[in-house]
């Protein structure tokens, strides 16, 4: 198979796809013997994983497939009132390597919740009972152990498809792997997901027209299958616009199945579970296993091919011809149809359309109840139970945690590069701000043009500095939407274990630096020379550096806010509020000595970066200048006198000290940003879970009290008592 594989990488498009198919057939023919010899080149569909080879020159690792089983899985959601609502009820099932398991059901039937529960990503107010076993052991599947393609595609809009995938590859593949191999893997994945036609198109954002929704979906899937995960969850991979995506994807899984059975090598198996909304008949034929859910309960679990002909037919709901089996299933269990029927009853139109369809005679809820009870007494149910028991007994290998295998330096480097490219291409990130900054500084420059050393220019210089440091930095909130976009991408990649928080924070700092330097130098220079501030290169340098530091601090502050408050509006309002308060205590709006000492003077004005910036800039600007007095007869006023008496500045402290305080603030705020992310990862879910538990307890207590008071009410307490006993 090696030969076929290497050809496949080199080709593009349909030919390549055909070659891949040929390779499959080829490999099927050669059977087990061929597979033992590790292939020299990596093919997109190759089951010879780079990981196996990396582990020691082709040495086999043993059974690394993932067998997933879940038993009596019950998920209860605590509502804001303290009531509980069951979302999943005692689900039992399993997924085996080399199979594709499809979760189907009407919307709201718990498909996504089941995936979340299996992947360990339930919301904080949802409680899980029952067991999830990976290779017979309890496992935590969050942060990278299982690849999970969620419903929303959070991608970086300015990168092309190829760039998106190759950056992701560089972030996660081991450093040792040669560049060409990484490239080959990326190309392979692109072909595999049928993205070759749009490989050089940008993903698209608010000002760039990009790829279609279905293609975005495919890119998201490509990013996850890139690492050839053992266990892959997909939430509605078909919810994009075209069905093409799934067809190709399923081919991946089913071709896998073919190869796997032929070669009898379990180590090549991958386990795929996907929730599928409405598969077409062709897609349906590609499912191995079908898990049909309705209202959080199992309607059917077993081979997909048997569902239509056997299960549904035996239960009394045969599929009419000219109807897609999956449509038929959903038609049987989607209670929305009851409403439709109620509405249409009596309508002349539908009367003669009635056929001998049994579904026309009974309500859907009735049909659903019949199917569920039929399933619970059927052979399928028994088989599932048995299989799960068997899988629980058989303790397999412990899989490594997936995630990234690249070194920290590599991650940081790649992230910086990616982030830099994104910033330079995204018009809204910095370019738009640069334009606005230039316009605003031109306005400032013309308003304070050539400010001079007259008596009135004393206050004008103060106001100018305060406006520049106050409001110009304020404009950084314009970048907030971009930060939130960045954070979303980070969130997705972090949950899939692509890289760590430290790498993200460092890369974000480094990549923004050139832009911030550009922005502050351009606007600082314009301002400085138009207003004609204190002449001298060092003075100019100080001014620009102080501006740079202030803008960077604001950026870091906004990033920290974006990491806890994902909502644009709240973030902007809170960010603006904090900056407003900082500005107020900076020593311009109220002189430093007049600021009330407790709280405002003592911690606050020292925390405010505006304070340090103004202290430094006033000294930088006024020291050494001599100003005219009100009347020409009166003596001229030296800058030092103004500093001490008008602006109340401590002239003994060097302005460079002020600047260094500003720079240390950058570090502090970045640390804060890091801590905020960590906190929202660890502390927030715990707090939410704790609050939800408290609510349930309170509710239970109240109900118990109520029941104790009036014996006749005892019958109503059932719902509190029926909560899972091992509620954490």
């Amino acid at each position: 198979m090696g030969k076929g594989a290497s050809v496949a990488v080199g080709l593009v498009g349909r030919e390549a796809a055909a070659a891949v198919a040929a390779e499959l057939e080829d490999s099927a023919g050669k059977a087990a013997g061929a597979a033992a010899a590790a292939a020299p080149a990596l093919s997109p569909l190759s089951e010879t994983l780079w990981r196996d080879r990396a582990a020691g020159g082709g040495a086999l690792l043993g059974d690394v497939s993932a067998r997933l089983a879940w038993r009596d899985l019950t998920v209860t959601v605590v509502l804001a009132t303290g009531d509980t609502q069951p979302v999943l009820q005692a689900l039992t099932g399993h997924a085996e390597p080399g199979t594709f398991t499809a979760l189907m059901g009407p919307s709201g039937s718990g498909k996504s919740t089941l995936l979340d529960a299996l992947a360990g990503r339930l919301a904080a107010n949802a409680f899980l009972s029952g067991t999830v076993l990976l290779n017979g052991r309890k496992a935590n599947l969050s942060f990278g152990a299982a690849a999970y393609v969620t419903q929303d595609d959070n991608l970086i809009g300015t990168l092309t498809v190829r760039e998106t995938i190759s950056y992701s590859a560089r972030l996660r593949l081991p450093d040792k792997m040669p560049r060409e191999e990484k490239q080959a893997l990326v190309e392979g994945t692109i072909i595999e997901m049928g993205l070759q036609d749009c490989a050089d198109t940008v993903v698209g954002n608010w000002h760039l027209r990009g790829i279609s929704g279905g293609e975005k979906r495919r890119v998201s899937i490509a990013l996850e299958i890139l690492m050839r995960p053992r266990l892959l969850f997909l939430d509605e991979p078909t919810s994009g616009l075209d069905r093409h995506a799934l067809l190709l994807h399923l081919f991946y899984a089913s071709a896998f199945f073919v190869t796997q059975t032929l070669r009898g090598l379990a180590r090549d198996g991958r386990t795929v579970i996907a929730s599928v909304h409405q598969p077409s008949s062709e897609v349906f034929t590609l499912f191995d296993c079908l898990y049909l859910l309705s209202g959080g309960r199992t309607v059917y679990f077993g081979k997909a091919s048997e569902a239509c002909e056997q299960f549904f037919a035996q239960a009394g709901f045969p599929c009419p011809s000219m109807r897609n089996p999956s449509d038929h299933f959903l038609r049987c269990i989607n209670s929305d149809f009851d409403k439709v029927k109620a509405t249409l009853k009596g309508s002349m139109k539908t009367r003669f359309e009635r056929s001998d369809d049994p579904l026309e005679k009974i309500t859907t809820s009735e049909a659903m109840r019949r199917l569920i009870s039929y399933y619970q007494h059927s052979q399928y149910y028994m088989n599932a139970q048995q299989k799960v028991d068997e899988m629980a007994r058989l303790k397999g290998t412990v899989l490594d945690s997936g995630g990234s295998q690249a070194s920290f330096a590599m991650q940081a480097f790649t992230l910086t590069k990616r982030s830099f490219i994104n910033m330079s291409r995204d018009f809204g990130y910095y370019w738009l701000r640069l334009i606005i900054y230039i316009v605003v500084t031109l306005c400032i420059g013309t308003i304070y043009l050539n400010v001079g050393t007259g008596y009135s220019s004393i206050l004008a210089r103060g106001a100018c500095a305060s406006f520049i440091f106050g409001f110009v930095t304020f404009m950084s909130i314009g970048g907030f939407p971009s930060f939130v976009e960045d954070m979303k991408v980070f969130q997705r990649e972090r949950l899939n274990g692509h890289y760590g928080v430290v790498a993200f924070v460092i890369s974000n700092t480094l990549s923004a630096m050139p832009f911030l330097i550009l922005i502050t130098f351009v606007s600082g220079t314009l301002c400085y020379f138009m207003v004609r501030l204190h002449p001298g290169f060092m003075h100019y340098l100080f001014f620009v550096l102080a501006l740079y530091a202030s803008v960077t601090v604001v950026e870091s502050l906004m990033m920290a806010i974006a990491s806890v408050i994902p909502n644009f509006l709240m973030g902007i309002i809170i960010g603006a509020g904090i900056q407003g308060i900082f500005m107020l205590v900076s020593g311009y709006f109220r002189l430093p000595h007049d600021i009330p000492k407790p709280f405002w003077r003592y911690p606050m004005s020292y925390i405010s970066f505006h304070y340090w910036a103004l202290q430094g800039q006033y000294q930088n600007d006024l020291k050494g200048l001599v100003f005219d007095n009100q009347d020409d007869e009166l003596p001229k006023i030296p800058g030092e006198y103004i500093l001490e008496n008008v602006f109340q500045i401590d002239v003994n402290r060097s302005k460079w000290l002020d600047l260094s305080v500003l720079f240390s603030m950058i570090v502090i705020y970045r640390l804060l940003f890091f801590l905020m992310i960590k906190m929202s990862e660890d502390v927030t879910p715990w707090v939410r879970g704790y609050m939800a538990r408290r609510r349930v307890q309170n509710r239970r207590q109240r109900k118990a009290e109520l029941a104790a008071r009036s014996p006749s009410l005892r019958g109503y307490v059932v719902d509190a008592a029926s909560l899972p006993a091992d509620l954490p």
């Binding site: 349909r14 055909a18 198919a21 057939e25 919307s107 929303d152 809009g157 049928g194 698209g204 608010w206 990009g210 279609s212 929704g213 919810s239 994009g240 093409h244 190709l248 081919f251 089913s254 071709a255 073919v258 909304h277 409405q278 077409s280 008949s281 000219m322 449509d327 989607n334 929305d336 149809f337 409403k339 509405t343 139109k349 003669f352 701000r433 606005i436 605003v440 306005c443 308003i447 100018c464 406006f467 409001f471 314009g478 907030f480 939407p481 994902p566 909502n567 644009f568 509006l569 309002i573 603006a576 509020g577 407003g580 308060i581 107020l584 709006f589 109220r590 002189l591 600021i595 009330p596």
Partner: protein, 684 residues
């Protein structure tokens, strides 16, 4: 385009032969839409190739029938529908004729009811409220309350929205109804007034479209025309659509008739609509190529003739066959017949029948309900304002009359008028959300621009008054400005005027730049510059006379606000001098000498000027909206002429046609702005 109704569907035969479509139309008195030789081109430029979106389409839609437009993604479904309802993207050039009842007329602003793909609804209202407000806006004012109520109830029943009638639609912090219910609600809003012509875009996930399909079917028995493009529908709606036309890469491929495809019969266990799409979707070529050789599919391949041909081939064949078929002939004949019939219906179809005052009242009440329920719109800002006012109050606590207090009082006033009004940009996202609803409803012709602007002003007034009153009273009492009720009232009114002016400014900006990010940055920039010229950062006499002093400082509310505020606060007070022993400084002296302002007119005149500005800004907003609306068709015609000329000059025009869908609706802009950020909080 359509097969004149083949022997297909439950009741296809019922109207075949006996009554021709044209005759049917003449009887019913509904709206009939025909389109001839419709071609939409997206001209290239700047290195991009010119793209034909739809190419030479003929077709018609007659009352009482549903026309389904089907095709793979990118085949031009949305473009066709957009051009039929006059809502094409501005840069698309449309040629050919779209005739309503045989006449050419403007199809936007209320003639065609259009249910778009995205649901533009106010998230804070309940389902029933949404429908009721919409009914009040559009049904004749003469209608009694109980009658309106009945119509609303009927519509809710019809669309199966009864259960969720009292639930909220849902915003980012309020979990609401499901996506399918939202879709149904959008349709309910359109069928409320029984429009003659309804088009709707079906959502990609078709499952929830089932109910609408059925209702629509039911609804179509009334004299109206509906056109619905859909992603592959499930079996039942397809079977029940009386006529369906499949577009494939911009040219009609085939009518939906089984007999039409003798060589490509539909296998059993496959949904017919799936089958049609399977035949014309070239994506399947890639799939087929990949699948070839897979053992699992081999058996199937032998049965399915489709795998023998590439879809491109099949498509070519179907398109050719259709072109020369009887169906195409019949379509043209029918179009001809329909256009000939005249004088059936000449009443002008308009979006709303309610009187202007009724519209205003309804809009105000709706907008007020929305504002009072949306946490972000004003409540959050009220909280922030109060917090800021307390901060300000403690920092300037009991400011007194010392020498430094002069500067402190001035900067307190400057901060209040500058920063506090700056925070108004916080309402921008909510405002844009509302603007979206307005744009949609305006396009459907529910109400006029003036009604909207006035209603917005009225409904926001109580909130803005609360905001300014609350923060003014906190600051006023804590800082201990001049005692006396009239001084306090002036202070509060001044703040109110400032906040309202900035609010109006943001509205103008939002009408000019529809993008959230641009609006935010531009708004912040404009407010910043306004602050700079208001006379606080640079005293008014010192401002450069050209530009900054003369027009700008007079059209900026801040200069009036500051002038009034200084006069209100300082006149009549005496301050300590800089050096002890010198005479005390009077407020008048400070204003004239230190601030460089004149005392020629009273503070109330300054206040009045702010309200004049407020009116002027609102008027500008009105003019901007009106101009945008009125100028659009002229710009479009000019653009079309220009582009066609340009394209004709290019010899390679016919060769470089790339076939891609570029309809605006298929590629919604990336959720940089509001779409997602406000609707779904990040999962943690």
């Amino acid at each position: 385009m359509d097969g004149g109704g083949g022997a297909y569907g439950g009741n296809g035969d019922a109207w075949r032969g006996a009554v021709s479509p044209a005759a049917r139309y003449a009887e019913s008195g509904g709206a009939s839409l025909t389109w001839e030789n419709l071609t939409a081109v997206l001209p290239g430029g700047g290195g991009r190739a010119t793209k034909k979106l739809v190419q030479g389409l003929y077709g018609y839609a007659v009352p009482g029938r549903i026309v389904a437009i089907m095709g793979p993604s990118g085949s031009g479904k949305s473009t066709l529908l957009d051009s039929l309802s006059g809502r094409l993207a501005r840069n698309v050039v449309l040629t050919g004729k779209v005739l309503l009842n045989g006449k050419k007329r403007r199809l936007d602003y209320g003639v065609v009811a259009y249910v778009t793909q995205e649901n533009v609804l106010l998230g804070t209202l309940t389902v029933r409220e949404t429908v009721t407000y919409s009914a009040l806006l559009r049904l004749p004012s003469s209608m009694r309350k109980s009658e309106v109520q009945r119509i609303v109830d009927d519509t809710l029943d019809e669309m199966g929205l009864r259960e969720c009638a009292d639930r909220h639609i849902g915003t980012w912090h309020l979990r609401g109804i499901s996506g399918g219910e939202k879709k149904r609600l959008s349709i309910a809003l359109e069928i409320l007034t029984r429009p003659r012509l309804l088009s709707w875009m079906s959502p990609p996930a078709a499952s929830t479209a089932r109910l609408p399909s059925r209702s629509c079917r039911h609804y179509a028995s009334l004299p109206l025309t509906a056109a619905a493009p859909s992603s592959p529908p499930c079996t039942s709606p397809a079977a029940r659509s009386s006529r369906s036309s499949t577009t494939s890469v911009s040219s009609p491929a085939a009518s939906a008739s089984t007999s039409e495809m003798p060589r490509f019969p539909c296998p059993s266990r496959r949904n017919p609509s799936d089958h049609f799409l399977r035949c014309v979707n070239s994506d399947f070529d890639d799939v087929a190529a990949t699948m070839k050789g897979s053992m699992k599919l081999r058996a199937e391949a032998e049965l399915d003739p489709l795998l023998k041909y590439s879809t491109t081939e099949i498509r070519e064949r179907l398109v050719d066959k259709y072109r020369i078929s009887d169906y195409a002939m019949m379509v043209r004949n029918t179009i001809h017949e329909i256009t000939k019939i005249e004088g059936v219906m000449e009443e002008v179809i308009r979006g709303s029948q309610a009187s202007w005052f009724k519209q205003l009242r309804t809009l105000t009440s709706r907008s007020f309900t929305n504002m009072s329920r949306d946490l972000n719109y004003y409540w959050l800002r009220i909280i922030i304002y109060i917090v800021m006012a307390i901060c300000l109050g403690t920092i300037y606590y009991d400011v007194g009359t010392s020498y430094t207090a002069i500067q402190a009082r001035a900067s307190c006033g400057g901060f209040v008028s500058g920063f506090m009004t700056f925070m108004s940009i916080g309402g921008f996202p909510s405002f844009i959300e509302e603007m979206k609803v307005f744009t949609l409803e305006r396009q459907n012709g529910y109400y006029g621009v003036a009604a909207y602007i006035i209603s917005n002003f009225l409904s926001s007034m109580p909130f803005l008054l609360t905001v300014s009153w609350a923060s003014a009273s906190i600051t006023y009492w804590m800082v201990k400005f001049r005692p006396g009720f009239s001084y306090f009232a002036f202070f509060a009114l001044n703040l109110y005027g400032g906040v309202s002016v900035i609010e109006s400014l943001m509205m103008i900006i939002s009408a000019l730049v529809p993008n959230f990010l641009m609006g935010l940055i531009l708004g912040a920039g404009v407010i910043g510059i306004m602050m700079l010229t208001s006379g606080f950062f640079r005293l008014l006499p010192e401002l450069p006379k050209i530009f900054w002093r003369y027009p700008v400082s007079y059209i900026v509310y801040g200069s009036w606000g500051l002038k009034g505020g200084y006069k209100n606060d300082l006149i009549g007070l005496e301050f300590e001098p800089m050096m002890p022993g010198q005479p005390k400084l009077t407020g008048e002296y400070i204003i004239t000498e230190m601030m460089g302002l004149s005392l020629n007119h009273s503070k109330w005149l300054d206040l009045a000027m702010i309200f004049v500005l407020l009116f002027a800004y609102r008027l500008t907003f009105f003019i901007v909206l009106k101009v945008k609306e009125a100028a659009a068709p002229y710009i479009r015609v000019a653009y079309t002429r220009f582009t066609i000329k340009r394209l004709e000059r290019r010899a390679s025009f016919r060769k470089t046609l790339a076939m891609t869908s570029l309809s605006k609706r298929h590629n919604p802009p990336h959720p940089m702005a509001i779409q997602e950020g406000l609707n779904s909080p990040m999962p943690y």
